[in-house]
Amino acid sequence: MKHSDRPNCSRALLLLFALTGCTFILTYALPERVPPALIAVMIAAIAVIKVRLVVLDFLGLRGGRTPLTAALWSWAAFVLLIAVACAALQLSL
């Protein structure tokens, strides 16, 4: 494992807090002219990034070539994709 591949829990936590702040801004502090579909996609993307950080750094799977890492964040991406698709469907109706 390269030095840069080592899990760094504290750096991951700071990034996770920053991403949570981004989610708050996207949800409650953006002007209303921003398209809701774009906000939904960005919220889902941030959630997937957060899951990936937890998997890599908190679960300690960074640097390991295991299919478990991809499977875990794919699970999150799959559920969020369904949610975004349904939100987009409701917006288009």
């Binding site: 936590l13 941030i46 959630a47 937890v54 679960l59 699970w75 969020l80 349904c86």
Partner: protein
């Protein structure tokens, strides 16, 4: 002889790892099905879900996200420690995070007036999914305290893996239920 013992240890650890991941994936499949059901029903009853989401508290779920992430950090740090007292301290801090999460969630339920007995589909599904997650947090916190009493590497690996899976479920549940 030493190599036989070490290979047996490695096999035991792998078996333990497999059991942990079977348990973790059964949780992910269950929550995946519940969240998909929530999204599908939201398309079938858009008015009830819009009204239900409007009743939800804005700040408490974000504070709870921060609390659960911090708790996950303590759990991850516990797995890194070699000194037993530091392992115990980190595990108890992670458990405290779970207790705070539970307390805030109960305040949120009281604020929203949510109940399984509510007539509308949003309240029923919302309470079912978040309540199921809350039970996992409560149970996980208890196990974290128990493992703090017996902080072997295997015990810590088991509970921290499950604790991070509970964390991952919340990170997906939060946007699906509250934001999208």
């Amino acid at each position: 002889m030493t190599s036989i013992i070490s290979s047996r240890d490695a096999r035991d650890t792998d078996n333990g790892d497999l059991l942990v991941w079977i348990l973790a994936w059964s949780e992910l499949v269950a929550f995946g099905a519940l969240l998909t059901a929530f999204v599908v029903v939201s398309v079938l009853h858009p008015e009830a879900f819009a009204a239900g989401k409007a009743r939800l508290h804005h700040a408490l779920p974000i504070i709870n996200t921060i609390v659960l992430l911090a708790s996950g950090w303590f759990a991850a740090r516990a797995a890194e420690q070699s000194a037993i007292p530091r392992r115990r301290m980190m595990l108890l801090a992670a458990a405290l995070g779970g207790v705070v999460f539970g307390g805030l969630k109960c305040i949120e339920y009281a604020f929203e007036g949510s109940s399984l007995l509510s007539g509308d589909p949003f309240s029923q599904l919302y309470f079912l999914i978040t309540g199921f997650h809350l039970t996992h947090v409560a149970f996980g916190s208890m196990i974290l305290v128990l493992v703090a009493v017996f902080p072997t590497r295997e015990n810590i690996h088991l509970i921290t893996t499950l604790w991070h899976v509970i964390d991952i479920v919340w990170l997906v549940m939060f946007p699906v239920i509250y934001l999208l």
